[in-house]
């Protein structure tokens, strides 16, 4: 008798399977939230504060309401339930509550027959403001005690010191996620006091909780549906227009569509926290870290959003993937009148990685070793305590393998020649090509995976076998990263059935999948799909006394004993699972404890050419090795690595929201520079596969590490080319120009 394995599936784990939503996406048929329409639909528009801080003296909506085609104008007085919302702290009013606290804060919304009438009606609302001086300096806010969260980490002996001391002060400006798809949504009233919502989101269940509270309705009256998302990167983890369109739909009894324009989008979602970070590294004469002391100051802007989680990440990853037994960190995130900050890819860790990697390069120089060598000497490995929390590192952490793999990637040719398209500034280059300076830099980062600090982190999924194939039901949000494909691959591999459809259920049909953030969905929703599929398989095999499931049905000893139709005679067979990762702890008062569920590392090497006259940088190559656990879909992992690198390159050399007195001066794609095809470096990738302890098939989340250490690698390369200290990102031309006068 031949042993038949149940792994004869096409499109299982480990294959670079194509996306099931790929064809509608390339033909233009895929429906994003901004593409949705409904019969009798009205259009919403938003009146926003023109000031970062101002008292609302008078608000008269009557002129707008009197306009033909205008159906409703709503303000804070029209919020029937909770006056405020928020994912962590409910501190943000649905509309301005008498004082505007950031530029662009919503004041009122309008519903009208068409978008133009809605915009005109917004302009017709009469508002009188009394402008107040905004608090925009984070040090000043900290001194005033205006904080969202303050943390202290104390580990080891404060009295010890090292013979080599490196100090630095680092600064990160404000980066925007700038997803291409704008905030958008459609609210459809059910005429029984409830509604169905199709809104850009990263976590429909956490939206649902906040929406229901503000509407003052019961949980079952609101159904939040996963909608088509044009990128997210953290921008959609918090509420934008959700409550506004729900209120308009309930007031008018008509479907409401709202789409932010690009300037509103910049105003209407949270950004990466700008940060100031003071560091002191102390090492022995060979560069082994002895003590790290740091003070981290992050600006959370006007409302809390996820600031408490962001500051924790910053604090716990103050030191990076290095051994160090004495670590002292004060970390604070403050409330100001700057644009609200929240989640963005690598939240909190992007900031500190720029600082700790700048410090490690200075340390390498001070002790006379290369940048890779100083990182090897200090690399954390499994079984070590994490330098900040002291928890023992479990699972896998192939730090040395990552560094070695990166070092093995060949460097580019020494010169890009004279084709101006391959030189800094492109065809605008005025410097002789021979004067262009080349630099190479390295950086190394570590990130926690999924949610930390005793958060009850779970994902629900249901896997059903029908006579037509397998259905995976989830409310997890596909933002483009490819979770939809990974869910199919896991179900195919476990069940041995090729036909798998992923069905996005609304909040009334399935439990929370948690957020599409923190690199968590492949492990969390993937883990839930895996567990549900295993449960389903065991039940089916037990029922039919079979030993494997195939596309045809249940087999026993190589013979078909029940066809799919027979297996599903009484209807679909389903299994629902709530998957949790190993529990994490609250830390003690000094940040000690097993606060994280897992870790991943990545390293980057950047090669840049710099025009010394104009201060322009061309990032020509960024290579990476990344700890991925197990690549469930290798092409998709490479896509995360390449895309994450370019976002990190953007922060290194061009992406900055310019904010003056709390006002964003460049809230358009003309003025906020995003990397184009010509700005994108060549990328060589290496995946290090050492299975982790709890992800499906040993997989780790891969979305954030590419963005974390790519930025400091690029800056290190620019330092190598220019000799400038470059303690702030993004590096601007004015930080570089004048090099020929330095000599």
């Amino acid at each position: 008798m031949t042993t038949i394995t149940s792994r004869r599936v096409v499109g299982g784990v480990g294959e670079s399977v194509r996306r099931p939503d790929g064809i509608p996406k390339v033909t233009g048929g895929f429906a994003y939230a901004s593409d949705l329409v409904a019969d009798r639909m009205l259009w919403g528009a938003t009146l926003r504060s023109p000031f970062a801080r101002a008292r609302l003296v008078a608000l008269d909506t009557a002129p707008a309401l009197a306009m033909p085609g205008v159906h409703a104008v709503l303000t804070q007085d029209d919020v029937p339930g909770s006056a405020t919302f928020g994912q962590v702290d409910q501190d943000q009013p649905v509309f301005c509550d008498g004082e505007a606290r950031y530029w662009g804060e919503p004041v009122a919304v309008v519903a009208a027959d068409d978008p133009e009438t809605a915009r005109l009606a917004v302009n017709a609302i009469l508002v009188e403001w009394d402008e107040l001086p905004p608090v925009t300096d984070s040090e000043q806010a900290a001194d005033a005690g205006s904080v969202f969260r303050e943390m202290e980490i104390r580990r080891g002996d404060p009295a010890v010191g090292g013979s080599v001391v490196i100090e630095g002060l680092y600064e990160i400006a404000t980066q925007d996620q700038a997803p291409l798809g704008p905030e958008a949504g459609l609210a459809i009233p059910d005429h029984q006091g409830g509604l169905d919502l199709y809104i850009t989101s990263q976590w429909v269940h956490v939206d649902h909780r906040q929406i229901v509270a503000c509407l003052g309705v019961t949980d079952d009256q609101v159904r939040c549906h996963p909608a088509g998302i044009g990128g997210a990167f953290g921008a959609r983890e918090d509420i934008s227009l959700h409550i506004h369109i729900a209120l308009l739909a309930l007031r008018t009894g008509r479907p409401i569509k709202m789409v932010y324009n690009r300037t509103e989008s910049f105003a209407g979602h949270v950004k990466r926290h700008p940060a100031r970070m003071w560091y002191r590294h102390e090492s022995d004469a060979d560069g082994h870290l002895v003590k790290v002391t740091a003070r981290l100051l992050l600006d959370g802007g006007a409302y809390a959003h996820t600031s408490p989680a962001v500051i924790a990440n910053a604090a716990y990853f103050t030191v990076g993937p290095y051994r160090c037994d004495n670590v002292f960190v004060e970390a604070v995130v403050v409330r100001t009148n700057n644009p609200p900050a929240g989640a963005m890819r690598g939240f909190g860790v992007v900031q500190t990685c720029f600082a700790h990697e700048s410090q490690m390069d200075l340390l390498a120089d001070a002790v006379g070793v290369g940048p890779l060598e100083v990182r090897r000497r200090n690399a954390l490995v499994v079984g070590d305590p994490l330098n900040t929390s002291g928890q023992t590192i479990e699972g896998s952490l192939p730090t040395l393998e990552v560094l070695d793999a990166l070092a093995s990637i060949p460097l580019p040719a020494e010169s890009e020649g004279s084709d101006p398209r391959r030189l800094p500034g492109g065809t605008g280059l005025t410097t002789p090509p021979a004067a262009v300076r080349r630099g190479v830099g390295y950086a190394f980062g570590i990130k926690n995976l999924a949610f930390s600090e005793a958060f009850d982190d779970y994902a629900d999924a249901r896997v059903a076998l029908t006579s037509a194939g397998v259905e995976v039901h989830t409310a997890a949000i596909e933002v483009g990263q490819g979770l939809v494909t990974v869910c199919q691959q896991i179900a195919r591999t476990v069940l041995g059935v090729d036909r798998v459809a992923v069905i996005w259920d609304d909040t009334s049909k399935i439990g929370s999948a948690g957020s599409t953030s923190a690199s968590r969905q492949t492990q969390m929703t993937g883990g839930a799909v895996h567990a549900a599929a295993v449960g389903l398989l065991e039940e089916i095999l037990a029922t039919h006394d079979g030993d494997e499931l195939t596309n045809e049905g249940v087999r026993r000893a190589d013979e078909l004993v029940a066809t799919m139709t027979e297996v599903c005679t009484d209807g679909p067979i389903e299994h629902t699972v709530r998957f949790r990762h190993p529990p994490t702890e609250e830390s003690d008062e000094f940040g000690q404890g097993a606060v994280h569920a897992g870790f991943a590392v990545a390293a980057h090497r950047a090669v840049v050419d710099v025009d010394p006259d104009l201060g322009l940088v061309r990032v020509l190559q960024v290579d990476t090795a990344q700890d991925v656990g197990k690549a469930l879909n290798p092409d998709a992992v490479v896509g995360q690595m390449e895309g994450g690198i370019l976002m990190g390159v953007g922060l290194a050399v061009m992406e900055e929201l310019v904010i003056d007195a709390g006002v964003i001066l460049n809230p358009t794609f003309t003025d906020y520079l995003l990397p184009t095809f010509l700005d994108a470096p060549d990328v060589e990738t290496r995946m290090i596969e050492e299975p982790d302890h709890w992800g499906p098939f040993g997989a780790k989340g891969v979305g954030e590490p590419p963005t974390i250490s790519s930025t400091p690698a690029v800056v290190a390369a620019i330092r190598a080319a220019t000799g400038r200290p470059l303690t702030r990102v993004p590096v601007r031309p004015e930080d570089i120009v004048g090099l020929n006068r330095d000599a």
Partner: protein, 154 residues
């Protein structure tokens, strides 16, 4: 005033105000929502269409200037169930993540290959530099067009 344009070979009339953008007429009046609205400043290329054979950002074109124009949108590229070679290549290379930029890349890329069937890597990057992708880092998109330029996938 009525403006008539030929969209993907079919004459379509609109009574939209002359200052409305071609993009908003395509999306909101004709229901052709494959062309995306992401910046309304001609910076991101998500709304790229062919206007009388030229690749343009439809958000920057006033409908009043389009009388009699031939407009090709992403919806018109696939023939029945057969994808255009650019669509197929982007799918196979993994050049689609969120996909919001994809229709623009499909139209701009098809136009590039019509003008220059065998572009170099630098020519590909230059021709598509008006289309922003926030997800992929352009690597997989480049690989798709390199294969097409080499004559594969046609």
């Amino acid at each position: 005033m009525t403006v008539t344009i030929i969209v993907n070979g079919e004459p379509r009339a609109t009574a939209a105000a002359g200052w409305e953008s071609l993009l908003s007429v395509l999306r909101d009046e004709f229901g052709l929502r494959g062309s995306k609205d992401a910046c309304e400043q001609g910076e991101c290329g998500s709304c790229t269409v062919l206007l009388d054979g030229d690749s343009v950002c439809s958000c920057l074109v006033m409908i009043g200037d389009c009388e009699g124009a031939r407009v090709a949108t992403v919806e018109g590229l696939a023939q029945a169930d057969v994808l255009h070679s650019v669509q197929q290549a982007l799918l196979e290379a993994g050049g689609v993540q969120c996909g919001f930029c994809t229709p623009g890349f499909v139209v701009a890329g098809a136009h590039l290959l019509e003008q220059n069937p065998h572009p170099t890597e630098d020519e590909i990057k230059e021709a598509l530099a008006g289309n922003i992708c926030r997800c992929t880092g352009y690597g997989a998109i480049l690989r798709a067009f390199v294969r097409l330029a080499a004559g594969e996938g046609k």
